[in-house]
Amino acid sequence: MKNIKNKFISSLLVLFILVICFLSALKFLSMQKKEAVFPSEDLTSKKMLSAYLQSLKNTWGDTEIYIYEGQEKGGNLLITGGAHPNEPAGFITSVLLVENIQVTKGKIIIVPRANNSGFTHSDPQEGNPQRFSFETSTGRRQFRYGSRLTNPVHQWPDPTLYINPAGQKLSGTESRNLNRCYPGRKNGRLTEKVAYGIMELIKKEKIDLAIDLHESAPEYPVINAIVFHENSEELAALALMDLQLEGFEFSLEFSPKNLRGLSHREWGDHAHIMPILLESANASHGRLKGKTSPALIVEGKDKNYAKAAKLGRLFVPYGEEGVPLKLRVARHLAAVKSILSSLEELHPEKRIEIKNMPSSSKVRNTGIGPFLNPPN
């Protein structure tokens, strides 16, 4: 009798956990559904990253590439967002560009979700929401807030110790960090393949200049920064002056030669292009963040960070009013624009001409929604 009772309780428990698994699985799996991106009418072509590395086909590492080519030849620019899917300003800036621009001279290639797998899950113990949204003229558009790392379900297990393709020794989880995996490995782990695919894209498309859009926690020293390689030193310095004239404060950071595997180092060393990485201040992936919510991502108001700024613990101004996403995106857009005008000044033959580039001041004032295309 006791035995039967025990079996009954066990069965009930199994049923109970199956229900929990089912309900939480629905939530987890919902992250696999991509948010739609509606490119501007002037999109020349759309490819997948697997066009540059066949073995990425039908994997979670494959990702959309939007190509805009002008009538006239000029410079070739690559913009990557979403290398770290928990840094939304990079992702949203690239989406805004994809949905608005028209290129009349030169070529621009945009990868909004560089680490596509990272968008399909959230980091444990970070308590982040799965999505955030913007109001557009015809309704809300939602975007996923992913993880800094590739989904462990797509790349498993982590090594104990990770020696990245550039030879740096890192903790095992970093093998899932796209921005530690450059220049990638052709037959390596998924994240290394994505890095390799991006390197192939850079080489095959004859990229001259590449901008990797990121964000960092407000307590991190490299913030509101333009990180440059020695190949892009002049370009970065010139862009900085331009940005200062426009009222944006940035710091210039040289890409350390002993910190390997990052885009701003390996793109320059291996593909000999001019790489630049941009950082803005994102409270929602910091260690000091208060209550997490979609509002924290979009509005960036956080009393802990305001307090930390007062205590002098931050490397960036952070007031009670917060650092909203629209400002972070505006900073990225302004930087892209300044970098392009500096490119023209330094290398007139590489000039890239864009029409309908979302204006940073307008984005800052009216928000992101008005620049997103309504679902068609």
Partner: protein
Amino acid sequence: MPEYLIFLLMIAIFALLAMLLKLPIGVSLAFSALAGSLLGGEGIALRHLVEGSFGYFDTILIIVTAMIFMKVLQASGILDTITSLLLRTFYKKKSALLLTAMFLVMFPGMITGSSTTAVLSTGALVAPVLMKMGLSKVKTAALIAMGGILGMIAPPVNILVMIMGAGVDMPYVGLTIPLLIIVIPLAVAISFWLGYKDIKIIEYEKMRAVLPPSYHQQYGFRLYLPLIVVIVLMLGQSILPKIMPDIGIPAIFLVGSLIGLGCGRSFNFFKATQKAIKESTPILCILVGVGMFIQIMTLTGARGWIVISFLSLPSIFLYLGIATSMPLFGAVSAFGSSSILGVPFILALIDKNAILTSSALSAVAGLGDLMPPTALAGIFAAQVVGEANYFKVIRHCLMPALFELVMGVGVLISTPLLDKII
């Protein structure tokens, strides 16, 4: 409701369930996390609760497989044989025994960066030897726990420093000497502190009497194969990463366990696994519960409140803050502590040499593995020696932990001086 109030209520609910109602710690943590999500206005945040526990998925895999390996070592007679070998070698040499035991325990931690791995593998090997030489159960466990923690901090692999380094863009280079400066004196001092008085040099006859059966004659060299394979695979992935495949610690333990099937006394692998599962489930459940608890703390803002509170301390109290908060927060796990608190603290001390700072902070954060309710090093050390109450073990770790704390903070304070010397 303010975040600190939610946090205090979560703690209160946990204490009520665990202490008054005597519910298992893991279950109490899970319920208090659920209560926190309700109090924080998040409803039943099922996704968050389950997601939080995944923070420990890799640790749990290591624990289960290490436990299976330990059961295999016991069942196949390997453990007895090695105890017998060590006893025959060291029954007359007290200091050599203590230092060898300490090094043996530290070794797997040094090459994997995990204290649990150390405690459950070589910890289990040296424990019977120390006990047979007169060291009490709890002191043996304390020595093993501390050995595991020191192994985790010692070079070549210190994951705590790697985690902190990742947060401040510091490459993992040049850490061997600073880490050795911290670890070597501690390893010597702690092993002598815990063992020198109690371990007795014994006569040959007396030693013979406590000698467990050795299966060396019967099975020969192959008896040691599981251990050798595990050590070679672990060493290979840290020393020859380009040649040796890094199959991860869980797979290494399972490979070792499977090899153990044909190397000694025959045993039932299924039963050995069941034993491992039965003994580890309460601990695994604690980790699941802590994961849920932390996720809800972060969700409601309580985690941020704790971090900012410590960072708000006036700078003269900063070291005090480090010395208290990092081990306390280690209740989450030493890894969690080094990421959540270690990184802000390095940044607060940014004018100092980051290599030395992170080495010292890792020594402080490592103590988190003694902090209940997770107390991984303490719990597993207690289990290895067969002590039901791990608090007794932790009590004996207090003094050694204090040594380590003083060492960590000492190095932190003397960073400018050390910077000039090394």
